[in-house]
């Protein structure tokens, strides 16, 4: 339907686009148009698009011959032509008329200097890339000497063009190695493949260019060459990669030995790509050797960067990784240990550590690599995790101004005092190290340092956040006997102070930390008790009135967790009081808070309480208020969360041990009916129906899904009385809507009846045209076409505006308007 509409508009659009007097539509419109063509093309199953649309061919040829073509239109045309020529049939048709040569030979264009425009060059490359799906296309490329042009474009001044040229070259090589282009050996088990002789010249032309680029003195050219090389290695197969590798090995070695800092990243990318290929297994290809060469002896400036990159490599040979690890740990080691007389200190390292900028970046590299290794639980060999952790601890102490005099041999210390970057990095690493069980005995030191950071008035908010994260990891990983003692005596007083911090970010992250801690130590009754007895809970409650919305939201979450934790405990005296107090304050937030975050948090807290437990008396009484307040909130996310709460409520209530009920004689049906009555009391139906007609689409969608679920359940219980649970339609918005739909349906029914000449039953007519006050729930669900509604809702809200049809209409109307404007000018 849609497409045929569009096809009827296409000729007019082509005329407008080809008209040099019209200013071209904006880029996005053209891109969208291309997307549509692409989609059509992929759905056409070999059908040639322009067989039915001759206007396209006319458009292409008129654009190319025109003397006044706009670059944007030409670029579009090039891409479109490539797309149309992507199938052999399309290619033939375009080629037969000579149109293809006409399009891609720039000398043939009406305006030659359009080539100067980067968008045209990029369109040209993109067109070829689109076309290159079959052998004929490749033949076309080679036959017309286009490879040379592409190679030139590799060093284009426009980065986009250069990148695209690279991509195209890789695509060509990849295409050459794809199955239909190689002489697959007939011998079973042979992995040897070779290129067909007619394509050898193409590949060697490209490969020679790579070798030439790598041997060049021109830095950007070398970079482009390396990028192409890494892409080829990552995307192409044999025999291309081994042939290419043999050729580039010598210039590559030269580059690596030269050790230029700006090439390191790219060289490592090349070698990383090589690691993923069969090249690795053959020693003559020297992949490992080259990587090792990049590391050197650990006494070149750039070796640390290499080591940091190598540590990150996934498929790295073990030996190499060990060497890189040793090197990357050197800066950390050097700063945090005494120099040994017999060991000559690495001169390069010492020099770098003495300068502030390089010192900090080196240590950060060292630390983040260490964290990386810890994530994989790397097994260190020559050095113990114990001493590494001690070094990290020492470094963190140095950052806060403590330094044993034995370490003053290096003046890195003064660079480190108060350096947030190193602090954050160090704390991350310390947290990551928690995976190693063998350093549990350092826990006391670790907690000491972390506590110092929490206590220090100079700790930056972001540093505190990292401290909390590290703390959490260490507390969670290994509950130890004195943990509770530590938490209530050492940690809680500091947290208490941090909750009164001037900076809201700190208050916020403190509350988040408490929430996480409570969740993690949920099963620990001692912790819950400590939470109550230390007065922490009352501080949490007072944080509910914080001036900053985010903090209130975090406080709600923390209180929520504290309450949830108390559910698990057997009668704590303060429990019911806590719940009571929390409920009062949280309901006040939900009804009065001016910011969305705290209100969202309240609904979320209710949801998790409900998920984690059965309904308690205290909760039940507030639930209906939450549903009604949350459902009528201004914030759509609050409404969504309220619907999630409703969902959990439904699940919990309906799943409430039906078998037990059955035993006592009452049926599944009564249980269900009771549940429905309960829902009605909670105001659940008001919520669902109101949300169904909400102005926010996701809310409607969610409500619709829940109602469909309910409808299915009702249908499943076969002998359910259809007249159960009447709902009052009067006085609410959704009631009017349902009534309206009901009347519409009745009228339609009546008109059908009249047409058929049937008198119909009086009863139906009577009640149909009267306003009704009460309808049963199953009836309402029937009246509402929920499935239809759901279908409509799943379409994205801009589905009308975004269609190709509207796009074309836009293009046409813009053209019309511009004509009008011209007339106006005269």
């Amino acid at each position: 339907m849609m497409d045929s509409d569009c096809f009827s508009l296409l000729p007019a659009v082509c005329l407008v686009l080809a008209d040099p007097k019209q200013s071209p539509p904006d880029d996005t419109s053209l891109e969208k148009l291309l997307d549509w063509f692409k989609e059509l093309h992929s759905h056409s199953n070999g059908q040639v698009l322009f067989q039915h649309q001759p206007c396209l061919l006319e458009f292409i040829s008129s654009v190319c011959t025109s003397k006044t073509t706009d670059p944007a239109i030409l670029s579009f045309t090039l891409k479109l032509t490539g797309l149309l020529a992507a199938t052999p049939q399309g290619f033939h048709m375009l080629d037969e008329g000579g149109l293809l040569v006409y399009v891609f030979e720039r000398e043939a264009w009406g305006v030659c200097d359009l080539w100067e425009d980067a968008s045209v060059r990029s369109g040209w490359l993109q067109g070829l890339l689109n076309m290159l799906k079959h052998q004929q296309a490749l033949g076309f490329l080679c036959g017309n000497g286009l490879i040379k042009v592409i190679l030139q474009l590799q060093n284009d001044r426009s980065l986009f063009v250069a990148c695209l040229a690279n991509q195209l070259l890789v695509h060509i090589l990849h295409f050459l190695t794809s199955s239909n282009m190689t002489n697959g050996s007939d011998v079973v088990g042979s992995s040897e493949t070779s290129l067909r002789s007619d394509w050898v010249s193409v590949s060697s032309e490209i490969m020679n260019a790579v070798v030439e680029a790598l041997s060049s003195e021109d830095h950007p050219q070398v970079l482009q060459g390396l990028r192409l090389l890494s892409q080829v290695l990552a995307q192409c197969g044999e025999p291309i990669i081994s042939t290419l590798w043999k050729d580039v090995l010598v210039p590559l070695e030269v580059l690596i030995n030269r050790g230029s800092e700006s090439l390191i990243q790219t060289l490592i990318t090349v070698l990383e790509a090589a690691l993923g290929t069969p090249l690795l297994s053959k020693t003559e290809y020297k992949v490992e050797e080259l990587l090792e060469a990049m590391l050197g002896d650990g006494n070149r400036r750039e070796c640390f960067q290499c080591a940091a990159l190598i540590v990150k490599l996934e498929k790295c040979p073990e030996v190499l990784k060990r060497k890189a690890t040793d090197i990357i740990l050197l800066p950390l080691h050097c700063v945090s240990t005494q120099p040994q007389a017999e060991k000559e200190m690495n001169v390069v390292l010492k020099e770098q550590l003495s300068q502030k900028a390089s010192c900090i970046s080196l240590l950060m590299q060292s630390l983040s690599s260490l964290a990386q290794l810890a994530h994989t639980k790397y097994l260190f060999e020559d050095i113990s995790v114990h001493s590494i952790t001690s070094s990290v601890l020492l470094l963190l102490r140095m950052c806060s101004g403590h330094c044993p005099t034995s370490l003053l041999h290096i003046n890195a210390f003064t660079h480190l005092i108060g350096c947030c970057k190193v602090q954050r990095c160090g704390l991350d690493t310390l947290g990551a190290l928690s995976v190693y069980e063998e350093i549990l005995d350092l826990r006391k030191d670790i907690f000491g340092v972390l506590l110092d950071y929490l206590q220090s008035p100079d700790s930056h908010a972001t540093v505190l956040k990292k401290t909390f994260q590290a703390f959490k990891r260490w507390i969670v990983c290994s509950p130890f006997p004195d943990l509770l003692q530590f938490i209530s005596h050492d940690l809680f007083p500091v947290l208490e102070k941090r909750m009164c911090d001037l900076r809201w970010e700190v208050r916020d992250s403190t509350l988040e930390f408490i929430t996480q801690l409570t969740t993690a130590l949920n099963s620990n009754s001692g912790f819950t008790e400590a939470l109550h007895t230390s007065g922490m809970v009352s501080i949490l409650l007072s944080s509910l009135a914080d001036a900053e919305g985010y903090v209130r939201a975090s406080a709600v979450a923390a209180v929520g967790e504290a309450v949830a934790a108390s559910f698990h405990q057997t009668v704590l005296v303060s429990n019911s009081k806590l719940l009571e107090e929390a409920l009062v304050q949280m309901m006040a937030i939900l009804s009065q808070d001016t910011e969305g975050f705290p209100r969202r948090a309240v609904v979320h807290a209710f949801t998790s309480w409900l998920k984690g437990s059965h309904l308690t008396m205290g909760l039940e009484s507030s639930l209906s208020s939450v549903l009604s307040l949350g459902g009528s909130d201004f914030d759509w996310e609050v409404k969504m969360l309220t619907l999630e709460l409703a969902e959990v409520l439904m699940e919990k209530t309906l799943a409430c041990c039906p078998y037990a009920v059955q035993n006592s004689g009452s049926s599944e049906e009564t249980h269900f009916t009771q549940a429905l009555i309960k829902f009605k009391d909670f105001g659940l139906f008001d919520l669902l129906f109101n949300s169904l007609f909400d102005c926010d689409r996701p809310v409607c969608e969610k409500a619709c899904a829940l109602l469909i679920k309910l409808r299915t359940l009702i249908a499943e219980i076969a002998d359910l009385d259809n007249s159960i649970l009447f709902l009052n339609l009067c006085g609410n918005r959704w009631g009017d809507e349902v009534q309206g739909r009901y009347l519409n349906k009745q009228q339609a029914k009546a008109s059908v009846c009249v047409k058929n000449g049937a008198t119909g039953s009086d009863e139906g007519m009577d009640c149909g045209l009267h306003c009704i006050k009460n309808i049963s729930l199953p009836n309402i669900l029937q009246i509402l076409d929920l499935d239809d509604m759901q279908k409509m809702l799943t379409l994205s809200s801009d589905h009308v505006v975004n269609s190709p049809r509207s796009l074309m209409e836009d293009i046409l109307s813009a053209a019309q308007h511009s004509e009008e404007n011209i007339v106006d000018c005269y």
Binding site: G401, C403, T405, L408, P457, C500, D501, L502, S542
Partner: protein
């Protein structure tokens, strides 16, 4: 140029600079830490303090029961607290011409200097410095006079006795120079000598030097000083701050190109960052109030308290502590709060612009209006009827030895719910608390010192590039407690000159030039001749007149015809006979042209000998030697005057004459 250092205290300096013919005192800070050796002066009768046992040495040989009391395991002097004055013996204080004050904390010793010493000079200070300084002095006097002590303890100061006392009394230094507080009359008399100056105002001192105050950013009206002559410049930097607080920001560029920079008043707590401490202050305060306790903040009645109140103004609402009352108790509380609002021109830009709205520059006005902040002259009177707990009390003195704070220490010290938060960095909080031990109250030390830290100062010095830096000795080494912190000291090239109490430093630069004015008629009579491009020279004959350190060249008076009736009495009075002076020569005698000239004049036999300084020409026939050197030419010619004159004239042809 010399610097006499009368105080070794880095932040309470008192130095005297002798520069040209002037003697300038730079600040006169009063070290009040000596008060810590004394017992607190309770405002309300304290049974605990009044029943303290007197101190008797173990063997009973020394009995100072009346003077020394044992309290909480330490011995304190039971007498009116005394203060350590600047050194008076190093220099005759009556010779001081002017005293330059940099901020109100650095003028507290003024009455000791200006009164009873023969001082006849002037004191220069900005208006806020004078007014707030006056408040602080009056407060100090009131604190002392409210609790009179009948006797002054002196026996313990006896060297023989002091040696036997328990520490820390035993180690107190210069105890004989300690003095009790001055009186109101002395304060008034001292302050009457103050002359007000404004920032960048140039004040001439006897025509010899010019002094200029510059904003230093530390407190209301605080200033650094520039002391300069035409060719020398000394900068005095004392108590400066680069942080954005209430005062006008620090003026830095005028400090450039100093020959000597005297650097004092850096932060006393270099490891405590003021922002962090402010945060610490607020969170501890909030924690205490939430738990139902009271907060006591011993502080000065001006300065950081304004920033604290401003910070709390914003914080209290956000911490949901809006209803907690703040009390500010000081004899000068009202004046301090009001004065701060009227010195608009001395405030930072942000606060200045508020005045035009018009709004009070400091938010404490609003706190007072809304009854959140109440101020009282003392705990007696209205305060006692309106006092409501839990609350926050700001009161002095930070030493905890006198003032209303003593009462609150006695009142709240026993409960662990209460907290005392120290914000002033001048006193060791442990020493301050010593006579109140054992203490259940929580103690928090958040010293807020906004003065320059070492990092800032090294940046500043890099920027302003003084030739020499003079600073107190402690700044040249890391703090004794943290010997590894080499970042907490001044590292400069050339190294700074360090001083301590009683040092006399010869400042390392010589004066080389003096400016002299020419009168116009004299200038008109000059005949300049150009000796090289752009440089002209002329000879001057004139009379130099020096008066008020100004030097003027006047035309020489014409010899007045002697009145015939009077006899000449003294030969010496006769003006010297004015002869036409011989012209001055300049230039060099070139060898080759000179030889040619000699040849032309018939002297042909010349033997030229090269020497280290030039050449020796031997005219062999005439037996004459001509020594041509760079700065002299000699013609050695025995008994042949005509020849010598002829040769001289030949030489002169090559030289320029003035």
């Amino acid at each position: 140029m010399k610097l006499y250092c009368l105080s070794g205290h880095p932040t309470l300096p008192c130095n005297v600079l002798k520069f040209k013919s002037t003697t300038i005192m730079l600040d006169c800070g009063l070290d009040t830490t000596a008060a810590l050796y004394f017992l607190p002066l309770p405002l309300v009768h304290s049974p605990r303090l009044s029943k303290l046992p007197g101190w008797v040495s173990k063997d009973g040989a020394i009995n100072l029961e009346k003077e020394l009391k044992e309290c909480s395991g330490r011995v304190f002097v039971d007498s009116q607290p005394e203060f350590c004055l600047p050194e008076k013996e190093l220099l005759d204080l009556s010779t001081i011409d002017v005293i330059l004050i940099s901020n109100y904390h650095c003028m507290m010793a003024l009455p000791y200097i200006t009164e009873h010493t023969g001082f006849t000079g002037a004191v220069y200070a900005t208006e806020p410095t004078l007014q707030i300084g006056r408040l602080l002095m009056e407060e100090l006097v009131t604190f002392m006079e409210r609790v009179p002590k009948a006797q002054a303890a002196t026996c313990w100061k006896n060297k023989e006795i002091q040696r036997l006392l328990p520490g820390p009394l035993k180690d107190a230094v210069d105890v004989w120079s300690w003095r009790k507080c001055y009186s109101v009359q002395e304060v008034n008399s001292a302050l009457s000598k103050v002359q007000l100056v404004g920032y960048s105002q140039k004040v001439e001192l006897f025509g010899a030097v010019q002094v200029t105050p510059l904003s230093s950013g530390y407190s209301l009206g605080s200033s650094n000083w520039i002391i300069q002559s035409h060719y020398e410049k000394v900068s005095y930097v004392s108590g400066s701050s680069l942080l954005t607080t209430h005062p006008q920001p620090m003026e830095q560029s005028s400090l450039k190109n100093s020959d000597v920079l005297i650097l004092t008043g850096l932060t006393q707590i270099p490891t405590a960052n003021p922002d962090g401490m402010l945060g610490e202050f607020c969170s501890n305060l909030a924690m205490t109030i939430r738990a139902g306790g009271n907060v006591l903040v011993p502080c000065y009645s001006s300065g950081v308290i304004y920033d604290l109140l401003e910070c709390l103004y914003q914080f209290m609402d956000s911490a949901n502590l809006g209803s907690t009352p703040f009390y500010f108790i000081s004899p000068v509380a009202n004046s301090s709060l009001e004065f701060s609002q009227i010195f608009a021109e001395w405030l930072c830009q942000n606060k200045q612009s508020k005045v035009y709205l018009p709004e009070p520059p400091f938010p404490h006005a609003e706190l007072i209006q809304t009854n959140k902040l109440k101020h009282y002259p003392s705990i007696h009177g209205d305060f006692s009827s309106e006092f409501r707990q839990p609350c926050v009390v700001f009161t002095g003195h930070p030493s905890l030895r006198f003032g209303d704070v003593v009462h609150f220490m006695e009142l709240w010290g026993k409960s662990s719910l209460n907290t005392i938060i120290f914000t002033e960095p001048d006193f060791s909080y442990l020493d301050a608390l010593a006579p109140y031990q054992p203490l259940a109250m929580k103690c928090v030390y958040c010293p807020i010192d906004t003065r320059l830290n070492f990092h800032q100062v090294s940046k500043l010095l890099k920027d302003i590039q003084p030739l020499h830096v003079v600073c107190p000795e402690p700044y040249t080494q890391p703090p004794p407690a943290q010997p590894h912190r080499s970042d907490l000291m001044l590292e400069l090239q050339p190294p700074p000159m360090a001083y301590r109490r009683c040092s006399v430093l010869g400042l390392p630069f010589r004066r080389r030039y003096e400016r002299i004015h020419l009168l116009p008629e004299l200038a008109r009579s000059l005949v300049p001749s150009e000796i090289k491009a752009g440089v002209s020279v002329a000879t001057v004959s004139a009379v130099l007149q020096s008066k008020d350190n100004k030097h003027v060249l006047q035309p020489a008076p014409k010899p007045t015809p002697v009145p015939p009736s009077k006899k000449r009495k003294r030969v010496t009075e006769e003006p010297p006979e004015s002869l036409n002076p011989k012209p001055l020569l300049s230039g060099a005698v070139p060898l080759e042209p000179f030889l040619a000239m000699l040849h032309k004049n018939g002297i042909t036999e010349v033997k030229v000998e090269e020497t280290a300084d030039g050449h020796i020409l031997h005219l062999q026939t005439e037996d004459v030697l001509i020594q041509l050197e760079e700065d002299a030419t000699h013609i050695i010619c025995d008994n042949n005057e005509p020849l010598r004159t002829a040769l001289r004239d030949l030489v002169l042809r090559f030289l320029q004459k003035l």
